[in-house]
Amino acid sequence: MEDAVIVIEDLHKSFGDVKVLDGVNLTVIRHKTTVILGRSGCGKTVLIKHIVGLLKPDKGRILYEGRDVVNMPTHERKEMLKEFGMLYQSGALFDSMTVEENIAFPLVEHTKMTKAEIKERVQEILHRLGLKDVEGKYPAELSGGMKKRVALARAVALEPKVIIFDEPTTGLDPVMCDIIDNLIIKTRDELGITCIVITHDIQSTFKIADKIAMLYGGRIIEEGTPDEFRNTSNEVVLQFLHRKAEGPIKIMD
């Protein structure tokens, strides 16, 4: 039995008449990177929002370290979330704060680090992500790719136990994608952080994943190691991996 950090059991969620999640089962393993694949609009973001408690399921259970997330009391959830980092698909940067203040925010709130130490940490992360002279800028003054990287920096700054990346490389150039991939790998290997990554990037999936799960039709239809995925016989997965328009995946739902 592998060491599970997060266990999702039979998760159901509808918005009005639209059924988005229809019985998702997924286990996230400690110190490993789990990649969630799936078509645009299939419910990946909705799924991870359940993990942190932003959305409440209609049915099903989510366990973090064996504790029930769904009915967790507020103070306990706060403590739990301090162990999480989250990169939002939209960035969700605080637009009234500078880049430096954005990245420093979780450090200021949750650590006893001094101002100088925080400054140093921010500099170090920015440098690693190839960002220069942006500390004093506001998010509105950044390019899309820069925003994404600043948001990424904010998610990893605290070096939490679990980091959720919602499409970390979307909208970045290939070189930058590789830098982000390396950062995620380093995050796992050097800091032992458990990562959950949502992506559409097949190449990066095989580079970073210890485990891949494919979300389709509101369920996880295939789950396994990269090797198992390469040798899959599942038509849907094959169509997705080989970027084909023809196949079992319905374009119109």
Binding site: L81, K82, Y88, S96
Partner: protein
């Protein structure tokens, strides 16, 4: 028979709509109430974020001084002008001072100050918080293990409760100066008589009640405006809607609470 059925259907639809409206009205009122209580309660729970509070006090208070002061000055001048016509008939011009002062302390200063702050700071609160909601910044605060209500709403409530009485004092003071300018220079009352009569007729209670009203208005408008922004949805249009809604509801609420407080106080 057919028309009868159609009529019945229409009637049912009407009741449905009425029910929906009243239930949204009730749930919204309840939401604002809960927001007000929870937001203020969290002011007494650590962590205390003094920087956020100071920033809001600066925005709601310091940056409102000019328009509040200017409006106060002109309000006092207008009051003195208008009342001078009546008092001249009775040769009771020295009563202009107390008239201006009582109107200001009891009613006009707190109400006008609250309306001005709603227009200036209340709308900004709703728009800013609404934008934070739709761009997932509030979600981001939540997932960092920070209570977004405590981080965003609490400082605005506290700052409003603290700053409104001060702005009210400024409004009253400049209103009295405005009244003085007109009484002395236009009507011909002596400066001594103007102030003397004010001190004679206006009690400490009048001033105190004015401050109390201002503080309550500050609480009410900030609770409404933050609530509207916090629950905004539907993109840029939704933020616009929340802002308009916030200003309208807050303005009307000022008068409703003014009536309630006046009935209780006097």
């Amino acid at each position: 028979m057919d028309t009868m059925k159609k009529f019945q259907e229409k009637l049912l639809l009407f009741f449905d709509k009425l029910g929906a409206t009243s239930s949204t009205f009730l749930s919204e009122t309840g939401g604002i109430f809960i927001n007000a209580i929870r937001g203020l309660y969290l002011a007494f729970v650590p962590p205390y974020r003094w920087r956020n509070l100071l920033k809001q006090m600066e925005f709601i208070g310091a940056q409102s001084t000019f328009i509040v002061g200017l409006t106060g000055l002109f309000t006092g001048m207008i009051l003195a002008f208008q009342s001078s016509h009546a008092f001249r008939l009775f040769r009771a011009e020295t009563l202009i001072g107390p008239t201006v002062a009582l109107s200001l302390t009891r009613e006009l200063a707190p109400v006008f100050t609250a309306l001005l702050v709603t227009a200036r700071a209340g709308s900004a609160m709703a728009a800013e918080i609404g934008t934070m909601r739709i761009s997932e910044q509030i979600d981001a605060i939540f997932t960092m293990g920070i209570d977004p209500v405590q981080y965003i709403i609490t400082p605005r409530l506290v700052a409003s409760i603290l700053m409104l009485p001060l702005l009210n004092a400024l409004f009253t003071f400049l209103g009295l100066i405005g009244g003085h300018i007109i009484s002395v220079n236009v009507v011909g009352v002596t400066s001594f008589a103007y102030w003397d009569q004010i001190f004679y007729y206006v009690t400490a209670e009048d001033y105190f009640n004015g401050f109390l009203k201002a503080a309550v208005f500050g609480y009410v408008i900030s609770a409404i405006c933050t609530h509207m922004g916090y629950n905004a949805s539907g993109g840029a249009e939704g933020v616009g809607r929340a802002t308009t809604h916030a200003v309208v509801v807050a303005s009307v609420s000022i008068f409703i609470f003014d009536y309630l407080l006046t009935a209780l106080m006097y």
